[in-house]
Amino acid sequence: MSTTTAAPRAAKKGGFTAAAANYLEDRTSMSAAVREFGRKIFPDHWSFLLGEVALYSFIVILLSGTFLTFFFQASQASVIYDGSFVPLKGVEMSSAMSSTLNISFDIRGGLLMRQVHHWAALLFVASIGLHMLRIYFTGAFRKPRELNWVIGFVLFILAMAEGFTGYSLPDDLLSGNGLRIIDGLIKGIPLVGTWISFLLFGGEFPGTAIVGRLYTLHILLLPALVLAMIALHLLFVVVHKHTQYAGPGRTQENVIGYPVLPVYAAKAGGFFFIVFGVVVLMASFFTINPIWNYGPYDPSPVSAGTQPDWYIGFADGALRLIPPGWEFVWLNHTWSFNILTPLIVIGVFIVLVMFYPFIESWITGDRREHHILDRPRNAPTRTAIGAAGVTFYAGLWAAASSDLIATHFMLTIEGVIHAIQAIVVLGPFVAFFIAKRVCLALQKKDRSIALHGYESGRIVRLPGGEYIEVHERLDEYERWRLVSFESYQPLMLRPNSRGKITVGQRVRAGISRWFFEDRIAPVTMRELEEGHGHH
């Protein structure tokens, strides 16, 4: 450091930095941490940065959110708005709404921070979703990372909860109607619903308690949980070391990539600023959640196009898809299957996704550690299940915008709902079939390229008059990417130690057969040598 040249020569080895480092080392023994992590290797691939997007947008949320808390008043006490926004002047509203308007219209940069916070929140949940899709389709959830998948999934749920509680805080018309829907949903739960709603809202809907309560959840309880889960999630990443894609020289026993210091730090650190920058750019150009248009909450008005933020859309869509009449009075009580069905279906879907790693390892019987990622095509059944799940989710999600689809594509609302009902029920099967066939076809193509090389487009006439197309063979590095995968066999039915075959075993063997029956084996050396012979 050139700044310390004038200092006495006490700190001989490098001046101020060294002195400071020594001071800290004497008190923290942090050299051990630097030795452990300073040169830790991280593989480099764009899809490995998706989780970082989530982490960084969460940091942006914390920063911008802290700014907002200095001005926001989480109270439903009634005030008369007297701020700068003319079309709401003199309108009666809650302090929550009024203080949010003041942040937007009376504090310089306040609206920017609100928009940064909201865009970052949408990005947070979206990047978690994309990150999860990457993990799923590459099989990165397999042993030893099953628990980290569960933790990540819990983070996804927590992120949605954070989003929903935040969405409801301004107490505007849109979020108020959102809460109204939550109230209706809760009331539909048998036995306890009425009371849960009564306690949650502190009396009858809407009451004057809900904003304060959601605020506590939004800025205290949920962020603490998110932070704890992120810490755990990252701890596991360190313990397991990052997965990597198959490639020449890469094995299950090594990690190839860049050390934390300096390259990874430069790229990941720089990426934080890039994500932050993109969010601020969006916030400076694009309006999000214009509460001044929605006005204060009042149980009587509602706006056309009342929708939740995107991540709650699938639940709202599920509600829309129920046909009329799914509600019965039985044993002197109301059974609201128009509400329970979506809740149950979504609940089952969530549980299946959350525990998928355990389900798959039970089916495959594979208990080895996996650190090399699968290409999606090399696990056709898993990829097909994923495609089915994505179709199902996308159908529910699209249903939440049925009215906008109708107006923008000149369709009828009824037609859109019926079409999406069909997509949600039948679409997953179609998607499963198509995805599986596409995977197998791609595997066959890989196999043929590995064996015979690329078609060069060059046609050559042989001396005998025969025309052939010249294939360009791959070098061994390119070929390795195409052949380095595993092929699995269905589980064999074998009697257990007491000589019996249990029902459980039969079921498992059946599912295993379904999972693995269609498969393409990787190219072997012998085939490769025979392939050479052909040309």
Binding site: A126, T287, S303, G305, G313, A406
Partner: protein
């Protein structure tokens, strides 16, 4: 797809209550039923009273009517199977329907669509004068009722949210109705047409007579709509004012899309 197949030349039209012009028929029936009450109501809104029209204009309007409208609405404007009676709908209805291009209808569909206006301003006022001469009805509002400098945007916003936003969206971006019908977007609609729509209830829109929303309340609503039309969203581009769906789509496609493109750049090998 909204009835694209129907050409203007065809005479097959939907009949019955769903016909887009049935609203006018209903108003006409309503007039007959409520009779004196309606007259009382009309006098209470003297400001919207039709101005006395010259006989010349009425005659001119009748000519235009005979050649352009009588096929569906009947030679005496009392309606046919293909179009409702126009007796008593007033000049306001004519000015709105013809002035926004909804009439004459080009094709059948869930509702009459806005399209380029088919007549000149003087033709439209002549037509309005003719229809108004058949029976009393809501007149074209005078300028003071449309003067947004006298309106109160805050009161208008409150009235708009209670009475209009459920169909037209809080920012006037429009919204879906049943069976392919929709409430149109309100930006770019003239103050006069907004006022006329409220008093006449075109198509499936309910009627907001002056005892429901007073003339000054209507002016406040127009003031509010013109305010949000003139002042672009303080937050930047409004993404069509369509709410969370537009925001979510934008975030996924452009927000996350650009970030993913950047991740590809970050991890690409430097040459």
């Amino acid at each position: 797809m909204r009835a694209k197949t129907h050409t203007p030349g065809r005479t097959v039209r939907k009949t019955g209550r769903r016909h887009p012009l049935a609203t006018i028929a209903l108003i006409a029936i309503g007039l007959g039923l409520t009779g004196g009450a309606y007259a009382a109501f009309n006098t209470s809104t003297a400001s919207a009273e039709p101005a006395a029209a010259s006989q010349q204009s009425v005659d001119q309007g009748k000519k235009i009517f005979m050649s352009n409208c009588a096929t569906c609405h009947g030679l005496s404007a009392s309606g046919t199977a293909n179009g409702p009676s126009l007796i008593g709908v007033g000049a306001a209805a004519v000015d709105f329907q013809v002035g926004t291009g909804r009439m004459p209808m080009a094709m059948n569909g869930p509702q009459a669509q806005q399209k380029p206006v088919q007549f000149t301003g003087s033709d439209i006022s002549a037509l309005a004068d003719y229809v108004a001469s058949l029976a009393p009805g809501p007149g074209i509002p005078n300028a003071s009722l449309l003067d947004t400098t006298q309106g109160n945007a805050a009161n208008g916003g409150e009235l708009f949210r209670t009475n209009c936003a459920m169909c037209h969206n809080v920012a006037g971006a429009g919204g879906a109705l049943t069976e392919g019908k929709f409430a149109p977007a309100l930006s770019g609609v003239s103050a006069q047409h907004i006022y006329e729509a409220m008093v006449t209830g075109p198509q499936n829109m309910p009627v907001f007579n002056d005892s429901n929303i007073s003339p000054s309340g209507k002016r406040d609503i127009i003031t509010y709509l013109k305010y949000i039309e003139k002042n672009p969203s303080p937050g930047g581009f409004a993404l069509g004012d369509l709410g969370p769906v537009a925001e979510g789509l934008f975030l996924w496609i452009f927000g996350l899309g650009s970030i993913v493109a950047l991740t590809v750049w970050i991890t690409a090998k430097s040459n």
